[in-house]
């Protein structure tokens, strides 16, 4: 690993860590505007994180070491995922660490630990949330894999970096299969990030909540890590979507000018993506939990259709 590559990789990771709460704040702001509320300020997620890091940790008596270490494990998984997804440039040192399939595995690992931590203390709410999360997860994962397989079939590689190179830097071709994959990916990321049709991110006290039910027992710096990790998750999914479906503007490896130029493009794309997310959330009502399998089943079928269409039209 040379020094230039390491610097670029480190910049990308640092950027992901710093930008992720901003993206969450931006989505909240857009949603508040659409609901005719006054928005809580773009920097609110940073203030919440700073406040939580200062507060003391309150632990349940029967909390195991797993409960205490889980936030750091989850944060670590998602930070690694953020480093692997090409946001500014392709061909970075860590891109080779995991291909698209391993990336899905990494996200699954984070989910596994958060579900275990939810069940650890033994409150009924945590167990409930963990079970629901695993149900959503096991339905969303195959759909996500199918979307990534479609992109892999087009670019003949399962490495995200190579996929971006193939889609973004060769001659522009319209891929009809990516239209299907795009719809499927949007549905999967709504479900995975606990967004409106599946879960409500704006509530802490509701019988139907999924993500918030699992982290109900956390406080202080543990909660801060979890909140930061869920911002990172949204960031990772957004960047993965942008890399797969709008790969324009991402620099090729070693192109320093390209990396500098890629930053404003990335911020613009994320802003547009966040606004689109807020619009989707405004347009839809939260589903009953038992409708989630149908929702995610549709996502899976669309992803399978994307592969079929690729075989028919593009092979």
């Amino acid at each position: 690993m040379n020094l230039a590559g390491a610097t670029a990789q480190f910049t990308e990771l640092l950027l992901a860590l710093l930008l992720a709460p901003l993206l969450t704040g931006w989505v909240n702001q857009c949603r508040a505007w659409l609901q005719n509320r006054s928005a809580p300020g773009l920097l609110q997620p940073y203030r919440v994180l700073a406040k939580l890091f200062e507060k003391e940790v309150v632990l349940a008596h029967n909390a195991s070491p797993l409960f205490r270490s889980a936030p750091y494990l989850i944060f670590g998984c998602l930070a690694l995922a953020a480093a692997i997804v090409p946001t500014l440039s392709t061909g970075l040192p860590l891109n080779a660490a995991a291909d698209a399939i391993a990336l899905v595995g990494l996200l699954a690992l984070a989910r596994f630990f958060i579900a275990l931590a939810g069940m650890d203390v033994g409150t009924s709410f945590g167990t409930l949330g963990a079970r629901r999360e695993m149900m959503v997860g096991f339905l969303a994962e195959p759909a996500l894999l199918m979307v990534l397989f479609t992109a892999s079939l087009i670019s003949q590689s399962s490495s995200l970096s190579t996929i971006v190179d193939a889609l973004g830097h060769r001659e522009f071709v319209i891929y009809p299969s990516m239209a299907f994959a795009g719809v499927a990916f949007t549905m999967v990321s709504l479900a995975e990030n606990a967004r409106i049709p599946v879960d409500n991110p704006a509530t802490h006290l509701e019988l139907t909540m999924i993500h918030e039910a699992m982290v109900l027992e956390y406080s202080g710096r543990h909660l801060a890590m979890i909140e930061w990790a869920s911002s990172l998750k949204l960031f990772v999914y957004s960047c993965m979507g942008l890399a797969l479906f709008f790969p324009f503007g991402i620099a090729q490896g070693g192109d320093w000018l390209g990396i500098v130029l890629a930053l404003p493009v990335l911020v613009l794309k994320l802003a547009a993506g966040g606004a689109a997310l807020a619009v989707i959330e405004m347009m839809s009502a939260k589903m009953r939990i038992f409708r989630a399998p149908e929702f995610l089943g549709t996502a899976f079928l669309l992803a399978v259709l994307a592969m079929l269409v690729h075989v028919l039209l593009e092979a």
Binding site: A179, E294, T298, L302, L313, E314
Partner: protein
């Protein structure tokens, strides 16, 4: 530019047509079903107009115009009026539940793609690869007609099937002769009017538009 990206855009429109066919299959509300049907008509119009521009076949412009007039404007309007007068805006009844229907739909798509593969290798048109999609949307609309118990979705399924057939004709042989196309368009229009009258008769008789009541017509 047009010659280069034209076929790609037609492929994209074909894919959207298939996507809309699936959306119709999974739709529970009659109102959205009709809007999806109108959207499918619009995509069909764009695809036909693009094929016309690519191949310089002037009669295809006529059929594109006919599609726009009939399937995007007139038929959805008739259907909207129909459901307003029948007062049925909701439809939750499917004979098989929706995920199963979608799975059967995927099987049908694979079948259609396999069936169309040898045919499209023989064809020399720029749109030959979309034949599989056209066949798939015909089969999916047919599936929708079978799995719905209310009459209005069945009518929409019938009309969507005609959309698929029309697209198949455009994809395989650049459209049918003008006389045939006019005849089919008129047939569809008349059929939808007759089916409208038919629906009112069903409702008069049974106070509902559930076609399962028709099974009890025989005298005991």
């Amino acid at each position: 530019m047009l010659q280069h990206y034209g076929p790609q855009v037609i492929n994209l429109l074909a894919a959207i047509l298939l996507l809309l066919a699936f959306a119709m299959l999974s739709q529970r509300r009659i109102l959205s079903l009709i809007n999806l049907f109108a959207a499918q008509g619009l995509v069909l119009f764009l695809a036909t107009a693009l094929v016309a521009a690519l191949t310089a076949q002037s009669h295809l412009y006529w059929s594109a115009g006919l599609t726009l007039l009939l399937k995007v404007l007139l038929l959805p309007w008739i259907l909207h009026r129909l459901i307003r007068r029948l007062n049925v805006k909701w439809d939750v009844e499917t004979l098989i539940n929706i995920p199963t229907t979608m799975l059967i739909g995927i099987v049908l798509v694979i079948l259609a793609f396999n069936l169309a593969a040898p045919i499209s290798q023989l064809a020399g048109t720029v749109t030959r690869s979309t034949l599989g999609i056209a066949m798939a949307s015909v089969l999916l609309s047919f599936l929708m007609m079978i799995t719905r118990s209310k009459a209005v979705p069945q009518v929409v399924g019938f009309l969507a099937m005609e959309n698929g057939l029309f697209f198949a004709a455009t994809a395989a042989v650049y459209g049918m002769p003008m006389v045939v196309e006019l005849g089919v368009a008129l047939d569809v229009l008349v059929a939808s009017l007759i089916l409208g009258v038919f629906l009112f008769q069903i409702r008069e008789r049974f106070d509902s538009v559930d076609t399962r009541h028709l099974e009890k017509l025989k005298e005991h």
